[in-house]
Each structure stands twice: as structure tokens, then as C-alpha cells.
Symmetry: C2
Subunit: 256 residues, 2 copies
Amino acid sequence: MRTIAVANQKGGCGKTTTSVNLSAALAQSGKRVLLIDLDPQGHATLGVGFEPEEFEKTIYNAIIDPLTPLESVVVATKFDGLSLAPSNVLLSGAETEITPRYARERLLRQTIEKLNGRYDFCIIDCSPSLSLLTLNALVASSEVIIPVQTHYYALEGLKQLLETIGVVRDRFNYSLRILGILLTFFESRTLLSQEVRRETEEHFGKLVLKTVIHRSIRLAEAPSAGEPILAYDSKSIGAREYMALAQEITAEEAVN
Amino acid sequence: MRTIAVANQKGGCGKTTTSVNLSAALAQSGKRVLLIDLDPQGHATLGVGFEPEEFEKTIYNAIIDPLTPLESVVVATKFDGLSLAPSNVLLSGAETEITPRYARERLLRQTIEKLNGRYDFCIIDCSPSLSLLTLNALVASSEVIIPVQTHYYALEGLKQLLETIGVVRDRFNYSLRILGILLTFFESRTLLSQEVRRETEEHFGKLVLKTVIHRSIRLAEAPSAGEPILAYDSKSIGAREYMALAQEITAEEAVN
Ligand SMILES: Nc1ncnc2c1ncn2[C@@H]1O[C@H](COP(=O)(O)OP(=O)(O)OP(=O)(O)O)[C@@H](O)[C@H]1O
Ligand SMILES: Nc1ncnc2c1ncn2[C@@H]1O[C@H](COP(=O)(O)OP(=O)(O)OP(=O)(O)O)[C@@H](O)[C@H]1O
Ligand SMILES: [Mg+2]
Ligand SMILES: [Mg+2]
């Protein structure tokens, strides 16, 4: 199983949109996918059609209680091949609860390791912070995708995030690799997008994934129907681009 | 002095853009304004023309060390009437450092209270989380502005945030009032924006500010020049809307 964290402390760069739509695209191409919602906002849970409040047991329980297997909180979605470990506001209590625990950064990894090969991919949607929960996601993952909005502020935070990933690799998880930087909200008509793209490719070269996600209102509409873009509007640009991303990821191993 | 927190745990909804541009608009209308950057990303610091790494002392020092007055970390910006308490990545250490401290949620309030009337407004840019730092901002503030992107996910988190503000009001800061919900990234041509606007006004009525900020690429370009929109392009829609927001806020006290 390939475990991929989708992380960036910059808010609103497309982490949830990427997690939900990449998961659905991988499932559509025949992979068995587990999507883990690791954000107390519960947006990935909403994005695949569930109400976060309806769950009594979520990823929170599997992290804080070793006797609650991850499998017991997983639910099937109405999209073939796509399962979800949901989250809701209860997860915001995890941070302080796990801080004093032994090997607190490995709790998510330990619960994922017990899954026993039921899935080909596990995609983890992270919250916009470099918190202990996000650290858990990086320690649990073999690869990380970094969505970067093609705006100025988004570029500034990238160096800090890459340094953090380097520290995680040295201290906690030597096998963590950067699968790639995914440019999002790209608008070909604006200079800003082109400049940020050029700068990202100049600084980070091969780390930048070939697939670029354009700004497209259909991607913002799909969550209100509780559907990934492939179900909401399979002919849209967003659907094609996330399918292309799934193909790019399955075609090659991580870039470094 | 009116202390206004700009907060929302949803990432990318326009907190920094609002903090920087509202501060500059208030300064342009003759107010003495202190902008506090309470996000370790340091984006408000970048937005008014500084490099976060260039600071040895930031808001971090004023929060964790009672012997470092806030005034000693404040710098003048090149925009008349606008001062900045900068931030950088060092601030990300504050969360764990202040967790064990007595009255940890009041540390920012205590340092702001010693400012002795030099400013008419203090605007606090928060990071995208309901962390102890954001709690410090809510405890330190007399009012809070909640930017809400006119997208589906943004609406979902609003109820949770309003509950949190209610808890802060009951337990820590009885004078905290909601100045208003600011709709951002509004696109009149899309149904999504109109639907989210209608739903927000239906659920939250008078709490929704009259000023609405439209999506405008000039607002995203201005930070790359290190300037608020009023300096970058004073004739743009963004500049007019943030001036209107400043007028709306100075004309009336908080809505509730
Ligand atoms: N390519 C796109 N085009 C248009 N809208 C998009 C695109 N990608 C995401 N969105 C919308 O922009 C908003 C931000 O995206 P999203 O919530 O996925 O970001 P995020 O990084 O998960 O945010 P957070 O930091 O809060 O977790 C959402 O309302 C989403 O629907
Ligand atoms: N009205 C607008 N129109 C177009 N772009 C905007 C607008 N407001 C903000 N932006 C841009 O969108 C991005 C997100 O805005 P901003 O960084 O202010 O949000 P934030 O809530 O502070 O994000 P974070 O959660 O990371 O702190 C930035 O690149 C900003 O330049
Ligand atoms: Mg998200
Ligand atoms: Mg910000």
C-alpha cells in the first residue's frame, strides 16, 4: 500500500479538494483507496457525501485508542472502491490528548500498519498547520503531495514546509519521499499564476508535478453536492486534471 | 483602542488580506493602527513589505516574555499611520511553550494592555486554526471579524467558530463581540457565490457585514509588491471595497 499525505500549512491551497478528487480518480481506475480525513473541520468527509456530526466513531478514536482498530471506523462511500475514515470536531481534542503520550508522533502510523493489505492507496487530508496531527500524517506516510496555490503567499511557505519534511525524514521516518508539488488554482490568463509557476519550477525543478490543476468553479461546486468532481461533472476540466494526476502518480514512483 | 481579531479556522478565506488591507485603509483615514501578525507563516509581515526572517524580535517575544514590552518589537511601516508587530517561524514554538503557563490564554491581552493609548485600532491576523494562539487573540480582542469565502466548505465551519467564540465570551472575555461576517472572494457571475451569500444572510442575518469583497486578481498581486492594495492599485475594486469596510467599521459599533 502507498500512503500519501496531502499537506501544506498554508490554508486554502486545495488539500481537501486534492485528497477527495485524487482518491476518487484512483478508485475509478480500479485501485482500492482509503481516504483518511485528518482535519477536525471534516471537509473531506463532507466532500464524499457525509455529515461529520453523524459519526460517533472517527479517526480520532483509532488514533487515541489502540483497542479501536482503524478498520472499525472506516465506512464505504457510494463511490466504488473508495472508503473513508471520517473526522469531525472531536478530532480537535486529539492534539492535547496525545501530546504527553509515548511515541505520540507514531500513533497514526501504528493504526494504519494494522490494516493488512486491504487497500492499494491510503490518502491523508491534513489540516492547515504543522501540528502534532500533521506530524503523525508525515510519519505514517511513504510519500507527500504538497498543493501550492499559484499565488505569492503560497510560495513563501514552501521552503519552511520542505525543511519540516526533511526533519521528519531524518528523525522519524527515513522512507518519507516528496511525491511532488502540485500547482493549484492555476489561471493561464494571469501573469501572477505564470510567474509563481516559473518561480516554483526554477526553485524546485523536478519536484513540480507535470499535472497542473486550473481554477475551475465546478471544483468549488462539487462539495455542495457531496461528490468528487468525477461524479459531479465528469466532463469538466477539474475531472480531467485529477484523472491525469492519478495517472501521473500510478505511472511513476515518487520523484525523489 | 478597538482591538479586532480577524479569525477563522478555515484556511485561505482572506484573513491576512483583510488584516493588511483593513489596517491600511484605517490608517489612510487618519487612524493610528497597530497590525499584529499572529501567524508563524508571517504573511501579514510580508504583506506590508518586510521579510519575516529579518526580525530577531517578534510578537513571539512579547507573548512569552513579560519583560519584553510589545512596543519594543513594533516597527513602523512605510505607510503613514500603520505600525506592525511582526512574526516569523519562531512563533510556531509559542504554542508548546505557553501551554503549561498560568493564565496562558491571557498572555497576549496582558502585553496589549500595556500599550498605553498609542493606537486607535489594533488588528490581529490569526492563523488557520483554533489553537492557543488564536484563543489568545480572541481573549485579547474587543471584537472579531470572520472572513468567509463564498464557497461551500467555508460555510460549514462557521457554526463551529461561532460556538467557540461563545465559549470564549462566557469563560474568558465577556466583552468579546462579533463585529461581523465578511463575505470574501465573491463572484457575482457564479451561482455558488450567490447561494452561499443567501444562505449566510439567512442563517446569520445582521451579523453579515454590508461590505462584500469580490474576487479580484489585484488583491492577490499586491502582496508580491509588499504593499496593501491602497498603495499597489488605489483605483482597483479591492481598494474601494476595503476602504468601504473601514468606513463601515468606524461608522458603527459592533453589531451585537
Ligand atoms: N482548482 C480549484 N478551482 C476552484 N476552486 C477550488 C479549486 N480547488 C479548491 N477550490 C475551492 O477553494 C476552496 C479551498 O480549497 P480546499 O478547501 O480544498 O483547500 P484546503 O487546503 O483543503 O483548505 P484548508 O487549509 O482549510 O484545509 C474550497 O472552497 C474549494 O472548493
Ligand atoms: N478577494 C480576493 N480576490 C483574489 N484573491 C484574493 C482575495 N483575497 C485573498 N486573495 C488571495 O488568496 C489567497 C488566500 O488569501 P489569504 O492568504 O489572505 O487567506 P488567509 O485566510 O489569510 O489564509 P491562511 O488560512 O493560510 O492564513 C492569497 O494568495 C491572497 O492573495
Ligand atoms: Mg482542507
Ligand atoms: Mg493568513
